[in-house]
């Protein structure tokens, strides 16, 4: 088991390094000079040169990368060109909002999605199954900003319990969490249903019935647990994408999360912030997939045995 975990961890670190290199190169090849943007349209050429020199932007690219990556390892992500604050600080600040929203949205999504998926699978072919799956198609197809706006109009404005904008209090997260969670709930329910149906057709489920187990136990212990691997995979992918910020929902509800931070940074060519942001996104994704890999091994002993 530990061997397996160590292998996955090494893989994770090397992926982050490769991504840092690729991001660095791409951002430096892209058109648009941050210094010119900082100093405005009518800046003097000498002044631009001076600022570039001060920021180390006139050094050879490989030196810049080396510098950046050494600082990165030390925990120094550089400073935002525009907000004049350390990148790490800005990201962590935004992360608080994003992670809180993500956690709420995903807990809602998991409860509803798993429940719907299990019920649909157990009653597959019935009207209930068809009804639940139609709802889930609706949930997947509905764009989150549309759901967000509907929630604002029909719940936020009508009942005046949940604020439609801002997250000064935690109750402000409710509507955004529902808007954001809808799609995930829908996709979890579909994957859960499909995966459970596949397991239901297998021989060992017949064995479980032949043993005279009660049907609830068969569903939860035999079918659901075996159906969990594909579900964990999408849960990992979903949490990864949630933690890297949802630009639209955060914008609609005016939440200063990662999504909003990065969109603003990209628009202003705030290279240190964009680079830091990309590294953050990469790190989150890699970390989540690392956890998912370890979870696979926990759920399915065959995986860690196969790794020997």
């Amino acid at each position: 088991m530990w061997r397996y975990v160590l292998k996955r961890a090494l893989l994770a670190v090397s992926i982050i390094f490769s991504i840092s290199l690729i991001t660095f190169l791409i951002l430096n090849v892209l058109p648009g000079d941050p210094v010119a943007m900082m100093l405005g349209e009518f800046a003097d050429a000498n002044k631009i040169k001076e600022v570039r020199h001060n920021m180390g932007l006139d050094l050879p690219l490989w030196q810049q990368y080396l510098q950046w990556i050494t600082n990165l390892v030390k925990g120094d992500f550089g400073s935002s060109y525009f907000q004049k604050k350390p990148v790490l600080f800005l990201i962590l600040q935004a992360f608080q909002y994003t992670s809180y929203l993500a956690a709420m949205a995903y807990i809602i999504a998991l409860i509803i999605g798993l429940f719907m998926g299990i019920i649909a699978a157990v009653n597959h072919g019935s009207w209930l199954d068809r009804f639940l799956m139609s709802i889930s198609v609706l949930g997947i197809s509905a764009p989150s900003f549309w759901v967000a706006i509907l929630l604002q109009i029909y719940i936020g404005l009508r009942f005046k319990i949940f604020p439609v904008s801002g997250v000064q209090t935690s109750i402000g997260y409710v509507l955004p969490a529902i808007a954001l969670g809808t799609r995930y709930a829908a996709s979890i329910s579909r994957v859960t249903r499909a995966s459970m149906m596949e397991v239901m057709g297998q021989d060992f489920i017949r064995t479980a019935y032949a043993k005279g187990l009660n049907p609830f136990r068969i569903v939860m212990v035999h079918i659901f647990r075996n159906a969990l691997i594909p579900v964990i995979t999408i849960i990992g992918a979903d949490i990864g994408s949630l933690l890297t910020g949802s630009m639209i929902t955060e914008n609609v509800f005016n939440i200063p999360g990662i999504g909003k931070l990065l969109i603003d940074a990209i628009n202003r060519r705030d290279i240190p912030l964009v680079q830091g942001g990309v590294i953050y996104v990469a790190a989150v994704c890699v970390l989540i997939y690392f956890i998912v890999d370890v979870l696979y091994a926990v759920v399915n002993p065959n995986i860690r045995l196969g790794d020997k």
Binding site: F204, R206, T207, G212, L213, N214
Partner: protein, 336 residues
């Protein structure tokens, strides 16, 4: 056969199972009549698709969509299983009647340790503590001849060979000392040496536990080793049923004769393998008359008109029933 042959533990009366499909209602099992005496081993033999496994499912109460039991009775200890409620069937399954399946590789839950899977079966039917159930399960693993039972108890099935997994299945099926054990091709997926061990084990344990057995196989050799009586099935019907020695010494239905001719013999000179021409008719294109008429070399015009009944062939052998009207061909078989 044992002495107390009077009591029937299982009586199947005129059982019909139909498949409800887009091609219409297809009879998988039609007019099955079988009696099973306490303590005997009934062999059920037939080609793939003849309804052997469906018969097992029907007895277990596990006929699932699109299949449905559309008529008849399955009397287990005089209790009708066809009309029994779900809860009652659940009580019986794995407890009074249990089953061993064909595919040991896929019939065990891949994520659960072998010991746990047996413990779970015990706990489903007995009100005892988990610890007691575990120790009973361990004892059961020991009794099916698995080396290092403590170690295997905690192993997940993928660590075990096919033969070992089938032993676990046997342990699971017998852990509650069922009165009836259904073995659905238990050795088909195993190689021959392991097959012999497993067959030996089933025979030994069923004697120990005084279990009545229905042994399903397509292999006449295995059937002859295992059974006291043999039922030959064809296209969802029992075409011949008799004591083992009668089935092998004087097979009477042309299909049984064909099956036996198809067993390769060591002492014959020919290199040719005998076979029955054609294949089992599809359920949606069953012939009007005798189901075997399309492949039978003794088929007459009479045979194509009406489905024959299962009847006693010779008053001297009241337990030998055959579903064939062609007395001529039967007579030929008897004299040969």
């Amino acid at each position: 056969m044992s002495e107390n042959t009077e009591k029937n533990i299982l009586e199947i009366r005129d059982l019909n199972v139909d498949l409800f499909t887009e091609r219409g209602v297809l009879p998988v099992l039609s007019h099955i009549n079988l009696n099973l005496k306490e303590g005997e081993i009934l062999g059920v033999v037939g080609e793939s698709g003849c309804g052997k496994s469906m018969l097992a499912s029907a007895i277990m109460g596990l006929v699932d969509k699109p299949g449905k039991i559309t008529g008849g009775e399955i009397l287990f200890d005089s209790e009708d299983l066809v009309s029994a409620g779900k809860k009652r069937l659940q009580e019986i399954r794995g407890n009074a009647i249990s089953m061993i399946f064909q595919e040991p590789m896929t019939s065990l839950n891949p994520l659960m340790s072998c010991g746990k899977q047996i413990t779970e079966a015990i706990l489903a039917h007995k009100k005892i503590s988990r610890k007691e159930a575990s120790s009973q399960a361990l004892e059961m693993i020991r009794s099916v001849g698995i080396p290092m039972p403590e170690k295997i108890f905690d192993a997940i099935p993928s660590r075990l060979s096919g033969g070992m997994r089938q032993r676990i299945m046997i342990a699971m099926a017998l852990c509650l000392k069922p009165r009836l054990l259904i073995c659905d091709e238990p050795t088909t997926a195993l190689d021959v040496t392991v097959q012999a061990q497993i067959l030996y084990l089933i025979k030994k344990l069923r004697k120990e536990f005084k279990t009545t057995v229905i042994f399903i196989s397509h292999d006449m050799g295995v059937i002859s080793q295992m059974s006291d009586r043999v039922a030959v099935m064809y296209a969802g019907q029992v075409v011949e049923i008799a004591d083992k020695k009668d089935i092998f010494s004087m097979p009477s239905h042309p299909y049984t004769v064909g099956l036996e001719a198809a067993i390769p013999k060591m002492d014959s000179d020919t290199d040719k393998l005998e076979s029955i021409p054609g294949s089992v008719p599809m359920l949606y294109e069953l012939p009007e008359g005798c189901l075997f008429s399309t492949r039978c070399s003794h088929c007459t015009d009479q045979c194509k008109l009406k489905r024959p009944e299962l009847t006693i062939l010779d008053e001297a052998y009241p337990d030998h029933l055959v579903r064939c009207i062609n007395k001529d061909c039967l007579a030929v078989q008897h004299s040969s």
